[in-house]
């Protein structure tokens, strides 16, 4: 037994040496190759930035016809003289990733306010089990505050969610069944059931396949009742705690969704759920002292870029409307 313990001790020494070797040699390259998110997200964070903007593609996605191609973040920055808003937005990210990015912001930065995007679509199964999630989670592993060799070991031993396509779809299907809701007088109680019937009835009632598919996407992306157990809610809670710890003011802004298209394709029940969820978030986080800017309904159908999938990609008019609402709320608060 003593022989074994002495070898374990020797192994520990070897590991400490290897940690130093790794940190000095391969770690910088691994961060660059495996963790673009941290590399690219934190690069724009200059010393003088007093505000940070965290979001996903809604921030910078433009329409081909846009003459003003500024991102939402830039528009906010332009409306707040005397402040510098650093753009930390990255495609497909969500509250879990925002937390890791924020956690990696050096103490030397002078950040006072964190503007955080709340995308209601990110709370449902299709996004939670999206195939973009695995690469994001890999990057999150490297963003942990832990010894470099340990983080690389987590990557090597696949300590992040990874699924085959079959497994992923099974998870999405199971998740849709758990997206439950209760609307008085409405026959469906979960997203899977509603989605199935929508497709059946939509195609029966003369909707084109594309429109029926889009209606189904809306149901899968928004038909749910948010509660404390949603993983994204838990991540937002972590963000609030992190902001408190670091003395930052959190500002959550709820992205507008295409209510016109949702209403015409699916019906008022989905809008009710959407509004209920936005209200849930607003009430929950306002009670925690967070400023919540609920932008639901401020962008109309014509300002949305995508026609065949529910996204929060706006043209310049839409981006401006969102930026104006956030800037106005920040001005009011100051």
């Amino acid at each position: 037994m003593i022989k074994i313990l002495s070898k374990v001790l020797l192994l520990a020494v070897v590991l400490v040496v290897l940690e130093m070797v790794y940190r000095l040699t391969l770690y910088p390259r691994d961060i660059e190759e495996q963790c673009g998110l941290m590399e690219f997200s934190l690069k724009p964070l200059q010393e003088d930035a007093d505000m940070i903007y965290l979001g996903e593609s809604s921030n910078h996605n433009c329409n081909d016809a846009d003459t003003d191609r500024r991102s939402i973040c830039q528009m906010i920055d332009d409306q707040l003289p005397g402040h510098h808003v650093a753009d930390l937005a990255h495609n497909a990210t969500h509250s879990g990733v925002f937390y890791d990015i924020m956690n990696n912001i050096p103490d030397s930065c002078r950040v006072q306010t964190a503007i955080i995007t709340v995308n209601l679509r990110s709370f449902t199964s299709e996004w939670i089990w999206s195939n973009l999630e695995t690469p994001l989670r890999k990057q999150q592993v490297m963003m942990k505050k832990a010894p470099a060799l340990y983080k690389r070991m987590l990557l090597a031993f696949k300590a992040y969610p990874h699924w085959t396509e079959d497994e992923r779809w099974a998870l999405v299907r199971r998740g849709l069944k758990r997206q439950t809701f209760s609307i008085p007088g409405f026959p469906y109680t979960d997203a899977a059931e509603w989605d199935r019937e929508m497709w059946h009835q939509g195609t029966q009632s003369g909707l084109s396949d594309d429109s029926a598919a889009l209606a189904c996407h809306y149901i899968k992306c928004f038909a749910c009742t948010l509660d404390d157990n949603n993983p994204r809610i838990r991540d937002f809670d972590h963000i609030v705690r992190l902001c408190r710890r670091r003395g930052w003011t959190p500002v959550f802004h709820i992205l507008p969704d295409n209510e016109d298209q949702m209403d015409s394709l699916v019906g008022p029940q989905l809008l009710t759920l959407l509004h209920n969820n936005a209200r849930f978030i607003q009430q929950r986080y306002e009670a925690m002292g967070v400023m919540v800017v609920n932008n639901q309904g401020i962008v109309r159908d014509s300002a949305f870029n995508e026609r065949f999938y529910p996204t929060e990609h706006y043209n310049e008019k839409g981006r401006r409307a969102v930026a104006d609402a956030i800037a106005a709320a920040l001005c009011r608060a100051n």
């Binding site: 074994i4 290897l18 391969l26 090597a156 696949k158």
Partner: protein
């Protein structure tokens, strides 16, 4: 649970530690529970399929022994057991393939019938534990093994976690006997076991997975690459599949050895074989010996007239091909090996190199034989790797046309890993890695551990490559 997962890094030491802490009479329970947990980590409900196989063969073993004096009953029992165990394998592995081919055949004759495809995922390691279970029943039938009366021990024999999902396919005379023996903590076993686990992880995570990146590029779009790159990709696949499977088997060996169990070596430097016949004595040894003992010899082995021997060889290798998967490419792969063995036997009388004598001359001949065998094996791996005949055709068409303009950008890590793999194969051709390593001075040994640990952690591929043999 995967050997190269973070969960396994917690599971393995916990189980090993508990194994030594518990008194012998409780250890089977621990190992059985751990094996169930290990298996259920993938798809929990599939444990019931395993349970069916276990129940059938456990009961068959007892009945066969009970009817030792009634040959007809005993034989019937064996047949029922084999058929029902194989039926489970057939339903999960071959039913869709058979029905699709039958429908395609019927359509050729103008008869159309809608196909019903079973939407099921193949239970992991089904072919492996089916064969292990069958070997038990057959050995009991032959009188080489007493029927196991303890259901727990028998279940553990089928489910022993280190070799549950990809073998080695164990014989009851080796594993079942050891499961009953009391094991004592021995430093040598722990040290050798951990060495094997580390080396296995290096083979899988550093060699196989890093090569896999380039292999996938080549096999997904062969038309994009020139002949040189295609050949390089094919060679890489030979080492990827070897590293992958040898790696898994080595980890399995190591896990078992830390608890004092010795399981069968599955590989003995197969790419240093001088002939196809020798290759099959060194590659996936537990499977090739299974086919030898339970199919080839019962068919008559080599003590039959030449035409019958040719037929036997072709049957055995074609079945071996099908064992790997329900696909025509696997069947072709197996059949081609059968054919090659026949050709090799035919050429055995021609002694081309008999006049070459002397140490150097014989060494040159040996190197040429090894190279020839490696080329043949590599070509056949491309049949094995191709998902369909169309893909295989594309690969060889691209090889012949040589129109591709893209170049494979192979990183230094892949080259170094491959070089180390080849070197390790050469160094360990006479003894296993753990024994070879144990003979080095402590400083060299620890330097080697440090290099392997560093490589496994810092140079393993970040792509997720499941073990290739999991699909079988």
């Amino acid at each position: 649970m995967l050997f190269n997962s973070i969960e396994f890094l917690l599971f393995f030491p916990t189980v090993t530690l508990l194994f030594y802490l518990l008194p012998h009479r409780f250890r089977w329970m621990l190992l059985l529970a751990a094996s169930c947990f290990f298996y259920m980590w993938f798809i929990p409900k599939y444990i019931f399929i395993l349970l069916i196989t276990i129940l059938i063969d456990f009961s068959a073993g007892i009945l066969i022994e009970r009817w030792a004096d009634a040959p007809a009953k005993k034989r019937t029992c064996l047949i029922v057991s084999i058929v029902s165990t194989c039926l489970v394998l057939f339903i999960f592995k071959y039913l869709n393939f058979c029905s699709a081919n039958l429908v395609a055949l019927a359509q050729r004759f103008g008869w159309t019938h809608p196909t019903k495809v079973l939407n099921i995922i193949l239970p992991i390691g089904l072919s492996f534990h089916t064969f292990q279970s069958l070997s038990y029943v057959i050995e009991v039938y032959r009188g080489n093994q007493a029927a196991e009366r303890h259901f727990g021990y028998y279940s553990l024999y089928v489910m022993f976690y280190p070799q549950l999902v990809t073998g080695p396919i164990e014989r009851p005379q080796n594993l079942l006997r050891q499961l009953h023996e009391e094991k004592h903590l021995q430093y040598e076993n722990i040290a050798s076991g951990l060495r094997l686990i580390l080396f296995g992880m290096f083979l899988k995570m550093v060699v196989a997975d890093n090569l896999g990146v380039y292999v996938d590029q080549i096999y997904e779009h062969p038309e994009l690459y020139g002949r040189g790159d295609l050949l390089l990709g094919m060679v890489f696949y030979s080492f990827q599949i070897y590293g992958d499977f040898f790696g898994y088997s080595t980890i399995a060996l190591g896990c078992a050895l830390t608890m004092g169990f010795t399981i069968t070596d599955n590989f003995r430097t197969p790419y240093l074989s001088g002939s196809v016949r020798e290759f099959w004595r060194r590659w996936h040894i537990s499977l090739s010996s299974w086919f030898r003992d339970y199919l080839y010899i019962p068919l008559g082995g080599n003590r039959v007239p030449l035409p019958r021997w040719i037929l036997n060889t072709l049957i055995v290798f074609t079945v071996c091909g099908i064992w790997h998967g329900a696909n025509w490419t696997f069947m072709l792969w197996g059949f081609a090996y059968g054919l090659l063995l026949v050709v090799e036997k035919g050429l055995r009388g021609i002694h081309l190199f008999d006049r070459i004598t002397g140490k150097v001359g014989r060494a040159v001949v040996q190197v040429l034989n090894v190279a020839k065998t490696f080329v043949v094996v590599t070509l056949l791996w491309s049949v094995f790797r191709s998902p369909s005949f169309a893909d295989l055709h594309n690969l060889f068409a691209a090889l012949i046309d040589n129109h591709g303009t893209e170049h494979l950008q192979v990183g230094a890590v892949a080259w170094v890993a491959l070089a180390l793999f080849v070197l390790s194969d050469l160094l360990t051709r006479h003894s296993r890695f753990d024994a070879w390593c144990g003979r080095r001075p402590a400083v060299v040994r620890w330097a080697l551990y440090a290099v392997l640990v560093f490589a496994v952690i810092a140079q393993s591929s970040v792509q997720n490559y499941p073990f290739i043999y999991f699909q079988f």
